[in-house]
Amino acid sequence: MNSIIITRVLRLLILIVLQVLVFNNIHLFGYITPLVIGYMVVCFHRNTSQTEILIWGFVTGLLFDLFSNTAGMGAASCTLIAMIQPYWLNLLAPRDSADDFTPTITTMGFWNYILYVIQQMVVLHGCFYLLDAFTLSDWFLTLLSIAGGSVLSTLIILFIELLIRGRKNITTH
């Protein structure tokens, strides 16, 4: 139990540092900025209490907001994906998986994992950039930021997963 909390705190700190120092400074084509903090929510195993995921998501978003002058935007978006995560994970988990199944690239398979992550990222970026723009007048730019940011963050998260899990154990079916 304690080791889980320590892992989560460490993961949170590392993700915040990476996000603030590295990813916040990426502005691909001037408008694509990945929000890799979403990885925090993606990692929760099945049957984690929903309240717990929500609170972790909220704290992640809040820390991100503190460092990037986006009061409330990150927190609202992260809480939203924390709400959706369990339902979506249930939908995409393999049939014979355990109750406390952890979503990783090795346990879910390559394509399922991508599907799982990109959905979370689209919701996260969608919520974040809509709150940021707060208007639909330049909807095309907002749409580009959302699409670009989601794809880029998914790629970064895949890269992180590959780094952590190693390339050997991946099944692509």
Binding site: S49, T51, L54, F58, A76, A82, M83, D138
Partner: protein, 307 residues
């Protein structure tokens, strides 16, 4: 009752979700309220000092460019000193000749940028000087190339500047050499392009004309360069020009800025406060009434004297 409690316990994550979302949105909306949010932004001392350390490290990467800019500024200042000296000599020689107007006086306080966003709709810059150094909201911020923005809010040691690159920023400006003025606004997208609106159609506008501050707003002294006209277009209603302006300030590499700390403001504010003072208004009104009475008396008297 029991069923209700069961329902709440069973679905408690929905309530937690709603609660957290409401908290987030409260943060989001109270962010626009003025000093309330100082503690929740990069003006916060803990976050600010973290950024100070980070920018201390990254500043080395930009040293070359900063040096070039300083060199250019030095050169300009040297020229100016030379010109001024000549003027001074001319004035001293001829004692009957007087300077036509009082010279503009303003003092600047140098500061460093510690954090900045460029690619959102509402961008902000954090600088490492605050109330303790005499900075107050609504002071102007400039750099060696041109105008940067206006101080938005302050904490003890840090301030947040609303740069030109903010959809809410609106700065009064004019075209150099003419008295037609407009306002400079920004649209989300490019970090070096802004737009001048409401310049009347009959104003002579040319490409490459320089856009500068006009002294109306009391934040910037007149004549500070902002940018150069790149494209001349029409506003949607066709009543005025819509000019695309390339900004002089290079925001992505901005590091050294200066805050204009005492340009006229205190004197003007004092005057305006005095004007709003009801006691004073009463006394002025009384004086006006007395004046009227006197005039009426005079009017009544004057026909007699003529006769």
């Amino acid at each position: 009752m029991r069923a209700l409690i069961d329902l709440i316990v069973h679905n408690k994550h929905w309530f937690v979700f709603l609660l957290l979302e409401v908290i987030s949105l409260v943060f989001l909306f109270s962010y626009n309220g003025y000093q309330k949010s100082v503690y929740f932004t990069t003006a916060n001392d803990v976050v600010g000092s973290t950024y100070n350390v980070i920018s201390g490290i990254t500043s080395y990467l930009h040293l070359q460019e900063v040096n070039n800019e300083l060199e250019a500024t030095n050169e300009e200042l040297r020229k100016e000193v030379y010109a001024m000296r000549q003027q001074l000599e001319a004035i001293q020689q001829d004692s009957t000749k007087r300077p036509q107007a009082l010279p503009l006086r303003y003092e600047v306080l140098p500061a460093q940028v510690v954090n900045m966003t460029l690619h959102k709709a509402t961008n902000f810059i954090t600088i490492n000087k605050g109330e303790a150094d005499g900075i107050r909201p609504e002071m102007g911020v400039v750099c060696s190339r041109g105008v940067v923005g206006i101080v938005y809010m302050t904490s003890r040691h840090y301030s947040i500047v609303m740069p030109l690159l903010n959809v809410n920023s609106k700065i009064s400006c004019r075209l150099r050499g003419s008295d037609y003025f407009g306002s400079l606004v920004w649209q989300r997208g490019y970090a070096d392009i802004a737009y001048v609106t409401s310049v009347p159609r009959h104003a002579p506008v040319k490409k490459k004309a320089i856009v500068e501050t006009n002294g109306y707003s009391d934040i910037f002294p007149p004549g500070l360069p902002i940018g150069v006209v790149q494209k001349i277009g029409d506003s949607p209603d066709g009543m005025s020009y819509f000019l695309r302006v390339k900004l002089f300030t290079n925001f992505p590499t901005l590091r050294e800025v200066s805050v204009i700390t005492n340009y006229h403001s205190s004197e003007r504010r004092l005057l305006e406060e005095m004007a709003e003072d009801p006691a004073r208004q009463d006394s002025v009104l009384n004086a006006q009434e007395k004046q009227k009475e006197l005039e009426e008396k005079k009017n009544n008297l004057s026909p007699d004297t003529i006769r």
